[in-house]
């Protein structure tokens, strides 16, 4: 178990290193000089002297390998460089905004689990009934509506028509907990919409599969009550694939919240990212993308460790 864990962590570290290298290399291989792009405006050729000065300041005039070395050693020290635009340290921006993005994802995931698992289990137990068909159809619809469409429609209905809550924004929890949660509601619902459908589908399929297993027959032969069989044997086994899929989708959400944050003006990672993409602020883009990719890899690692805890068979594989 210990060897397995250590190896799994080492593999993740290597992956992170590869990701960082790929991002760095790709940025530098692309034609076009960032300094030149940064200084050119409205089709006017920039002043060569200014370009040269900026290149020197950004270290772009140094050899590729030297820049790479500086980049890596910066990474090891937790230094992601500074924005080209306002020289604000990237790591500070990330540390300020990352928790807000994670809060959105966590809220969405909690909603998804609280709704998706019980409803999915019920749908499996009542296979073929109206309930099953209605919930399955709803899940199909939820999967089909793009996340930003749901967000926009939520704003239209709850903020514009019903006027129950503001269209978006953010207030720190410490400042006004109630307002914080109110503002969290709609973005969390938007994040949860796809997750709920995915968790529902997977739960339904996994419970159906679990129900047909021999150990369920054994549990019945032991004389266990239906609720105990359901919770302790059926759902306990079904939960493993559900968590796999949830983790996978939470990973894609690390990027997917960009759309939700944009719609609801939630000041997570997306605002600086979008600004940086438009302005071609390379250090900022690299820093944010790298941070999220590292989280993505870390999430996969954590989930692997969680399965090992949940499914004793994996520990020996």
């Amino acid at each position: 178990m210990l060897v397995w864990t250590v190896r799994r962590i080492l593999v993740s570290l290597v992956l992170i290193w590869i990701v960082a290298t790929v991002i760095f290399t790709v940025i530098h291989l692309v034609p076009g000089d960032p300094a030149e792009l940064l200084l050119s405006s409205g089709g006017m050729a920039p002043d060569p002297a200014a370009v040269a000065e900026l290149r020197e300041r950004l270290g772009l005039d140094r050899p590729f390998l030297e820049q790479y070395g500086a980049f890596l050693s910066g990474l090891l020290r937790g230094d992601l460089g500074a924005s080209m635009i306002d020289e604000y340290p990237v790591i500070d921006e990330v540390l300020l905004r990352l928790p807000r993005t994670l809060e959105l994802i966590a809220a969405g995931a909690i909603l998804a689990v609280l709704i998706g698992i019980p409803v999915g289990t019920q749908a499996a137990l009542r296979r073929g009934t109206v309930f099953d068909r209605a919930t399955s159809a709803t899940a199909a619809l939820l999967l089909a509506v793009p996340i930003f469409v749901v967000g926009t429609l939520l704003v239209l209905v709850f903020a514009q028509w019903l006027r129950w809550m503001p269209a978006g924004g953010y207030v720190p929890l410490a400042q006004d907990p109630w307002q914080h949660l109110t503002l969290l509601t709609m973005p969390a619902l938007a994040v949860a919409k796809g997750l709920v459908a995915v968790v529902f589908r997977m739960t339904r399929a996994a419970v159906l599969d679990s129900l047909s297993r021999d150990f369920v027959r054994t549990a019945r032969a032991k004389g266990l009550s239906p609720s105990r069989i359901l919770v302790h044997h059926v759902v306990r086994n079904a939960i493993i694939p559900v968590l796999t899929v949830l983790a996978l989708h939470m990973g894609t959400l690390l990027g997917g919240t960009v759309l939700v944050e944009y719609v609801f003006n939630w000041p997570g990672m997306s605002t600086p990212l979008l600004k940086a993409v438009e302005a071609r602020d390379y250090p900022m883009v690299v820093g944010i993308v790298l941070t999220i990719s590292v989280l993505f890899v870390a999430l996969n690692l954590v989930m692997d460790l969680v399965y090992a805890a949940l499914d004793p068979r994996i520990r020996h594989a």
Partner: protein
């Protein structure tokens, strides 16, 4: 195939409308007319005009063109390139495999939208960038699907055969592998197109996809947000069209997947169990722990009602072992399941009774049955690996059985479980109780199952092929264990098997079943010494003995929906006469035994005179 029709038609309709955009006589989608901005439906524009006075219907249809072009182009590129990489990686292995697969792992390290944003930063927004980004995103899916299929195809006999014939790798790939991977790739392609529509609209919504003023659904929603107070319909139209398109594509994906891989398609419809009250019952034998009387089980199938268990009667006394013997499909396991109340949902009891100490199990409700299951009656199943829950410790699973019937502190139940482990002959029971099923050998797992079954001192133990999945030496140990336990506890043991060798070793009496019916029943020694039914004789002859080659039984058990009119064994019987096919024989008492054969008297005379 039929499930494909509706979503297929919907997607085809969307694609056709998009393709036909230039010939539909629509107004120019980028022609602005500020004077008419946000105007409602008019004769010229049935859906009204947007914030720049552009025609909404025209923009919707031209927007479909933009979305679908990006979606199909990116999916096609990813499909072609990914399939090629997967084929090469899977076929040549080695370095190619490493490069093709590992590079895909790197793509998968990025959340999709982020990777897209990264590429947009580098190349600037636009349809070309979108196509490139999406193609990169979908590449891993195609590579992996193709790679997996190639690997499995490689090991198939026919591919080996073609290779042995000296065909070049390219030819083999094209002729033998591609047709096999076509299905999964088609599914992957449909998934990619659907995902591309979602991502394209999302990026355009952020202003990083399609460049204005070119129409796109994402851009339309982006634009309409500003005016949602005055003109909410402007927002709803593109939302509805986009959602509808993705829904149709998703449905097509699901249908395609079911079509390509029928295993995932929906299974048979279930129906609730309904029990018919049995008729008047004969008085129970006083000393029988279990008495099964005229048990008949029916299952509704598309081909009509079948009776996999038909009029089965037998009894087991305390301390006695009765073996039920028969080939697969003889109804022996369903008989046991009926007694335990564990019939599959499609099966129902049509008639009969099963008395456990005088209580008719077939008339009990589920709650009462539950109190008996694992308590007064217990069962051991064939495959101990799948019958144990893989995620719980074996000791806990036994303790759970104890706690289900006798409330006590967890620790006490756990201690009792360890005691049971010792009793069923598991060495080092304290440590073994902490083991998971996969950490045990097959024989030890079956000992755990037995410990679980005897946890509450059952009066009746049903063992359904408990040794079939085990090695021969382990089989003997398990049989000894069951025999010892029966002797010590005085429980009644019903032993279900297809192996007559096992019967001779363990059973006092034997019930031979064929095609749902009892064909012979009697003391084990007598039956083995002089089998009366031709099927019993055939079974005995089929047991390997010394160097003699066992005589197989020609033919197979008839399926329950195609039973012969007379004796069910007649088509396979070496002694069949016209009388056998005329009428179904009944179970007759003969020489202290029960036999279902019209020719038994005649046969006995023949053998006696011979």
């Amino acid at each position: 195939m039929r499930r494909l029709a509706i979503p297929g038609a919907l997607v085809a309709a969307i694609v056709l409308v998009a393709l036909a955009a230039p010939i539909l006589g629509l107004p120019d989608p980028v022609q602005q007319d500020i004077a008419q901005r946000l105007s409602g439906p008019t004769a010229g524009s049935p859906l009204g005009r947007d914030e720049f006075g552009r025609d909404v219907l025209s923009r919707l249809i031209w927007g479909a063109r933009a979305s679908l072009t990006v979606a199909f182009a990116s999916a096609a590129i990813a499909c072609a390139l990914g399939t090629l990489l997967g084929l090469l990686g899977g076929w040549f292995r080695g370095l190619g495999e490493l490069l093709a697969l590992r590079s895909m792992d790197i793509v998968l390290c990025f959340p999709p939208i982020l990777l897209a944003l990264l590429v947009v930063t580098l190349l600037g927004p636009g349809s070309g960038t979108l196509i490139l980004v999406l193609a990169i995103l979908f590449l891993p899916g195609f590579v992996r699907v193709t790679y997996a299929e190639v690997l499995s195809a490689r090991s198939h006999d026919y591919v080996e055969a073609v290779r042995a014939l000296g065909a070049g790798p390219l030819r083999i790939l094209i002729v033998t592998v591609l047709p096999n991977v076509a299905g999964p790739i088609l599914v992957q392609l449909s998934l990619a197109v659907a995902a591309a529509v979602v991502l394209e609209s999302g990026l355009s919504f952020l202003g990083l996809g399609v460049v204005p003023p070119e129409p796109s659904w994402g851009l339309m929603i982006r634009g309409a947000r500003a005016t949602m107070a005055q003109a909410p319909l402007l927002l709803l139209w593109p939302c509805a069209v986009l959602t509808f398109t993705i829904l149709a594509m998703n449905l097509l994906c699901d249908a395609l997947r079911d079509w390509v891989d029928p295993r995932t398609a929906s299974a048979v419809r279930l129906r609730a169990i309904d029990r018919v009250l049995p008729g008047l019952l004969p008085p129970a034998r006083a000393d029988a722990v279990l008495q099964v009387d005229r048990l008949t089980v029916e299952i509704d199938t598309p081909a009509g009602v079948i009776r996999p268990v038909d009029d089965v009667s037998f009894a087991v006394r305390a301390g006695e072992t009765v073996a039920i013997v028969g080939e697969s499909g003889s109804g022996k396991s369903l008989t046991a399941a009926s007694v335990m109340g564990l019939l599959p949902p499609a099966a129902r009891i049509a008639q009969g009774a099963a008395l456990l100490d005088g209580t008719d199990l077939l008339r009990l409700d589920e709650a009462a049955l539950r109190r008996l299951r694992g308590g007064a009656m217990a069962m051991v199943f064939q495959d101990p690996m799948s019958s144990l829950n893989p995620v719980h410790r074996t000791g806990d699973q036994v303790a759970e059985a104890i706690l289900a019937h006798r409330p006590m502190p967890r620790a006490a139940a756990r201690r009792e479980a360890v005691g049971l482990f010792r009793r069923v002959g598991i060495a080092d029971p304290e440590r073994r109780a902490n083991a998971f099923p996969h950490e045990m050998s097959g024989g030890m797992r079956q000992r755990v199952m037995i410990a679980m079954a005897i946890a509450n001192n059952p009066r009746l133990l049903i063992a359904d092929e408990p040794t079939t999945a085990l090695d021969v030496t382990v089989q003997a140990q398990i049989l000894d264990l069951l025999a010892d336990l029966r002797r010590e506890t005085g429980m009644a043991l019903v032993f279900i098997t297809h192996n007559l060798g096992v019967v001779a070793e363990i059973a006092d009496r034997v019930v031979v079943m064929y095609a749902g019916q009892v064909v012979e029943q009697g003391e084990t020694e007598a039956v083995f010494a002089r089998p009366l039914h031709p099927y019993t004789r055939a079974l005995l002859a089929a047991v390997p003995e010394g160097d003699e080659k066992p005589a197989g039984i020609p033919g197979v058990v008839p399926p329950p929906h195609a039973l012969p009119p007379g004796c069910r064994f007649a088509p396979r019987c070496p002694h069949a006469a016209p009388a056998c096919e005329a009428a179904a024989p009944s179970l007759e008492s003969y020489d202290g035994r029960l036999v279902r054969c019209v020719r038994v008297a005649a046969w006995l005379r023949e053998t006696a005179s011979a």
